[in-house]
């Protein structure tokens, strides 16, 4: 008789894998990638390819030459970091800056902590914020969206709705006057505005969210709590002084809120483990984002907000536990 395999239960597995989840997120990013290619053309191609290839290369090289351990580049996480990094930067950014940003994202953001699963901060955001602080000029030149764009470095640039708003308000203009200069909400929803390569089309990003929710890659807790918090906070500000503060719809459809709430904050490794913790984390991100946008120096604050809340995750996980069975004895009569 052939020998039997003996191992403890359970003897079956769901078939889920790290790879499936990582590639699932990549698939969810495809609509946004399509929107990016549509509006930024050649620039989007160059930026995306550079970021993905360099992130995968750096992970491979660090594992091969420094850590000397088994390569994990096929699990899709490095490619995903590259894709997210590309989505968070302008599509006319020079290649050499992207390569440096990728090295920081993978090298410092991820591998220095021990690789996938150990990084306390979202690696793509570590890379992005590093570039934003080191190359502030290049990082804030945004190409204007235009169909079939064949320019890369020489693309015509313009300000993003968020910076137009910030400058306008600083110059004493009223919100409604500034809004007249901006694309309509419909245009913003479909992505026809300046911004980072992958953040502009809320519609495409929401399609990605729907896909991830259906595939159960993520749960609704983090995106919903961020979006609701931002809407509520900016809504209150707007109601208190409509001329001084832009409305919630403006804040949700501009900048990186959708990309951040759906794809950056939901990064498995750097977000909390319990549902209650996820909501606290999301609310924190929402509040910090609005504070930076409305009262801070930068027009956009979601990257900083996510990184700051990443720092709180160990604390949240220590004190916020999932709801336990039997903790609340239901007294309902049978």
């Amino acid at each position: 008789m052939n020998r039997l395999i003996v191992s403890p239960s359970p003897h079956v597995h769901s078939g889920d894998s790290v790879k499936k989840n990582m590639y699932g997120v990549i698939i969810a990013l495809l609509p946004a990638l399509a929107a990016s290619l549509y509006y930024f053309g050649l620039g989007a191609v160059v930026v995306t390819l550079t970021a993905v290839v360099s992130c995968v290369f750096f992970e491979w090289a660090i594992q091969k030459f420094l850590l000397k351990n088994e390569s994990t580049i096929l699990d899709g996480s490095a490619a995903l970091t590259g894709l997210l990094l590309a989505f968070n930067i302008p599509s006319n950014l020079p290649i050499w800056i992207i390569i440096i940003g990728s090295l920081v994202a993978i090298g410092i953001g991820k591998m220095s902590f021990g690789g996938l699963g150990n990084n306390p901060f979202n690696p793509a955001l570590v890379g992005r914020v590093f570039m934003l602080i080191s190359f502030p000029v290049q990082m804030t030149l945004w190409p204007k969206p235009q169909t079939i764009q064949l320019e890369y470095l020489d693309a015509t640039t313009g300000a993003t709705p968020l910076s137009i708003m910030k400058e306008g308000l600083a110059n004493g203009e009223s919100v409604s006057a500034i809004m007249d200069k901006l694309p309509s909400y419909t245009e913003l929803f479909f992505g026809n505005s300046g911004g980072s390569a992958g953040e502009i089309a809320a519609a495409a990003l929401l399609m990605g969210l729907a896909y991830m929710l259906i595939r159960k890659i993520i749960t609704w807790h983090i995106p919903a709590s961020i979006i609701v918090t931002i809407a509520a906070f900016t809504g209150l500000l707007h109601l208190s002084s409509p001329d001084q503060y832009a409305g919630p719809l403006f804040h949700l459809l501009t900048g990186g809120v959708m990309l951040g709430a759906i794809f950056m904050a939901t990064d498995y490794v750097s977000s909390p483990m319990s549902k209650k913790g996820m909501i606290i984390y999301g609310v924190g991100i929402g509040i910090i984002t609005v504070v930076i946008r409305v009262f801070g120096a930068y027009p956009e604050g979601i990257s900083f907000a996510i990184l700051i809340m990443n720092g709180f995750v160990p604390l949240i996980d220590k004190y916020v536990k999932p709801k336990r069975f039997g903790e609340l004895v239901k007294t309902a009569k049978a």
């Binding site: 039997l4 003996v6 239960s9 003897h11 079956v12 894998s17 336990r324 004895v329 049978a334």
Partner: protein
């Protein structure tokens, strides 16, 4: 409306290949090996010796404590020897080995097929009879049934809940019993209700057994106080705590028993055994065993005598397939992998599951990506990822604080983990250690 339990849960592929297969009576084996430790609690004490003649249903080992159970001879013949044999646990343990001669039943057993609905025994007599008959939880937990029915002073039972969930994939023994022995189960339920002095019983059945739900609902009309609760298909709904939560919406507090919320749970197979013991004077010496698997030629439900070697059941189901990698006693989620197919079936053997090689091996473990899926699926609301880490690092006080002892070992975490981490293996290790520490403290 379909009910289910409130926290976590998974839905593994059901693969109920043997569903609808009539329970076939397996021929009496030439020799049986009856282990004396088939239940939770103290092993029974053999009262026969080598060379003794025994009849079917004769007491051969008696209960040796409050939590223990009697064992009866499944065959008639001569005690060949009492020796250590390999059993389903993978260890060598003491068993009574009997060589079969004929099939002569103890004269007191009523072998007729007639349904006997009138319950003459008093509650005390019922509990005593159940204890005498050696009935244990037949769902797999094998907790002596009479102990569960003895409600401790100061507590009252309000409702009896019957487990017809059979949430383990592949297994169909209870399903088939409900189809074929519905009336007997109903009478068994009434006996249990009488013993517990309750006027209400709920039979929880998952929605993947619509025929059983329909039939039992029809039958329940003739029996006062019994209702059927259809449940959404969700593993581990057959867990006692989960089933009570699903049926009556009450949660047992950490470390407490079902009676704390006024409920007692019994399994369908157990209920049939209760009927047979009380109404027909038949002790527990045979049970229904599902033999199944993807490559098994004839997935079947057998009525087999306790102590029958498993390979005889496997032969009857078409033999061990060529591609066999693993043989499991029980279901795929909580069953135990067997080291040999020669081990005997016991009171807790709900099924024999044969897994092909390609799915028998675990996939390679990767780093935890903190996806939190283990937390989402845990039906007890624990944090399996954390329990694995603290067990690995031997931080036992933290493991206790994180309620490692609440784990019901359902395996939903390991089943779900995308990184194939053996969460439950580590949690079991931690439970063992923490349990030891807690016991030493109370001494």
């Amino acid at each position: 409306m379909l009910k289910t339990f409130s926290l976590g849960g998974v839905h593994p592929a059901e693969n109920k290949f043997s569903a609808g297969q009539k329970i076939a009576v397996l021929p009496v084996p030439e020799q049986v090996s009856v282990p004396i430790a088939q239940h939770i609690g103290a092993p029974s004490e053999p009262i026969v010796k080598k060379g003794d003649e025994v009849k079917v249903g004769q007491l051969i080992a008696k209960s040796s404590g409050f939590v223990s159970a009697n064992i009866h001879s499944p065959v008639s013949g001569k005690v060949f020897k009492i020796d250590d044999i390999l059993d389903a646990s993978g260890y060598k343990r003491k068993a009574i080995i009997i060589k079969t001669e004929g099939d002569e039943w103890d004269a007191s057993i009523d072998r007729s097929e007639d349904l006997k609905t009138e319950i003459t025994a008093s509650p005390e007599e019922i509990i005593k009879k159940i204890g005498d008959a050696g009935i244990v939880g037949l769902g797999g937990a094998t907790f002596p049934a009479h102990v569960k029915l003895s409600v401790p002073p100061g507590k009252t039972c309000e409702v009896l809940i019957l487990n017809g969930v059979e949430c383990e994939p592949y297994l169909t023994a209870d399903h088939q019993l409900m189809i074929e022995k519905g009336d007997e189960i109903m009478v068994g339920t009434q006996i249990l209700m009488k013993a517990l002095k309750v006027d209400r019983a709920i039979i929880g059945i998952e929605n993947n057994k619509p025929d059983a739900i329909k039939q039992m609902s029809e039958l329940a009309k003739n029996y006062a106080g019994i209702s059927i609760q259809p449940l959404k298909v969700q593993y581990p709904q057959g867990g006692e705590k989960q089933l009570i939560d699903a049926c009556i919406g009450r949660q047992i507090p950490s470390g407490k028993l079902p009676i704390e919320v006024g409920a007692v749970v019994q399994n369908i197979g157990t209920t049939l055994a209760v009927y047979e013991a009380v109404q027909k004077n038949k002790p527990l010496f045979e049970r229904v065993v599902t033999v199944t698997g993807k490559s098994v030629t004839k997935p079947s439900n057998f009525m087999a005598r306790i102590g029958t070697p498993m390979n005889q059941l496997i032969e009857a189901a078409g033999g061990l397939p060529q591609d066999t990698g693993k043989v499991i006693g029980g279901g795929p989620m909580m069953g135990k992998a067997l080291v040999s197919t020669e081990v005997p079936i016991t009171k807790g053997s709900s099924g024999i599951l044969i897994m092909p090689k390609e799915i028998a091996k675990r996939a390679k473990m990767e780093a935890c990506i903190r996806c939190s899926k283990c937390v989402s699926v845990c039906p007890m609301g624990l944090s399996p990822y954390l329990l694995m880490t603290v067990s690995d690092k031997a931080v036992w006080d933290r493991a206790e604080e994180e309620k490692i002892m609440d784990c019901i070992e359902c395996g939903s975490c390991s089943f779900t983990c995308p990184a194939n981490r053996p969460l439950l293996d580590y949690i079991r290790l931690g439970k063992g250690k923490v349990g030891q520490i807690m016991r030493s403290r109370t001494k």
